[in-house]
């Protein structure tokens, strides 16, 4: 069976890279931890994991958007088929960089929220953990999201517009979400719901990138 390659990006302050790496290995990816200065990427999947890149200076993801890797992502998306996944801080970086529309603001109640929440994605409802202080998705016109698949909160925890927990750009293979799927894949005594997200991505790569049915 073909093993797809996944690169997990480490910025200064990233702290979810190991769980992400382990989860993707478990799903069947060949994983590689790469530095944010890297621009020569030859993997099928690039993951911007959770954490506090550059200490969240100025605002979450604001400084990371200038890293060589993030700056090269826009060209890479145009050049070849590559799946980009942003988890939590990764979502913040992707919106700050303009790779995904909108912006992510401080939670509506101003608190750090750390708990399991129910989300819906592709007609499935399941729970995943969130852990963020800045997770309130904002966009000036919701019409701008008409070509995106939306991952929604069942009970909006942070004041996100239209209950948005994540976005999936089907055309450009970019997915980003605030919940942490990597925390619920192999962790004992936790659900295995994170597999739903990673297996979905693996299937997309299989079908759309390699034509494996």
């Amino acid at each position: 069976m073909k093993k797809f390659k996944a690169s997990i990006v480490k910025f200064p302050g990233t702290n979810c890279e190991n769980e992400t790496l382990d989860a993707l290995e478990y799903i069947g990816f060949e994983t590689l931890l790469i530095n944010h200065n890297e621009t020569d990427i030859n993997s099928d999947l690039v993951v911007l994991p959770g954490g506090f890149s550059y200490g969240d200076y100025i605002s979450c993801g604001r400084i990371a958007k200038f890293s060589p890797l993030v700056l090269s992502l826009k060209d890479l998306i145009k050049k070849r088929k590559i799946f980009i996944l942003g988890i939590c801080n990764g979502f913040q970086i992707l919106t700050e960089a303009g790779i995904l529309p909108g912006a992510i603001l401080e939670n509506i109640k101003g608190r750090f929220i750390c708990r399991d929440v129910e989300i819906s994605f592709l007609n499935k409802i399941f729970s995943l953990p969130i852990a963020h202080h800045q997770g309130r998705y904002y966009i000036d016109n919701i019409e701008k999201l008409k070509n995106y698949e939306i991952i929604k909160y069942k009970n909006n925890p942070n004041g996100s517009i239209a209950d948005i927990a994540g976005l999936y750009d089907k055309k450009n293979y970019i997915m980003a979400l605030m919940p942490h799927p990597e925390r619920n894949v192999i962790t004992p005594f936790k659900s295995k719901n994170g597999k739903i997200i990673f297996e979905f991505i693996k299937n997309v790569i299989e079908k759309d990138f390699y034509g494996i049915v």
Binding site: I58, R62, I63, E96, G102, A103, L105, I108, Y138, G159
Partner: protein
């Protein structure tokens, strides 16, 4: 080469809810300081920049403010003051 000091502030756009501002409002009311109070929380920056002219310095500061200090989708920046320093 001149040396210029810029004072800049950033804040969320007025149409966007500001939880930190709301907390300051709430506490001001609770302490009976004022019932009519509207607070927007932002950030303040002092930047010293070297440039050949004030116009060039302003252009450089605009780039810093638009790209690094603020996100134009949700935030506004204001140049509060600028001066040449020796």
């Amino acid at each position: 080469m001149g040396k210029y000091l810029f004072k800049i502030s950033t804040k969320l756009k007025d149409e966007i809810k500001d939880p930190q501002g709301q907390v300051v409002e709430k506490i001001s009311k609770r302490l009976k300081i004022s019932d009519e109070i509207n607070v927007r929380v932002g950030k303040y920056y002092e930047i010293i920049i070297f440039a050949s002219s004030l116009d060039e310095a302003k252009m450089m500061i605009k780039k810093v403010a638009e790209n690094i200090l603020s996100n134009p989708i949700v935030e506004l920046y204001t140049i509060l003051s600028f001066e040449e320093i020796i």
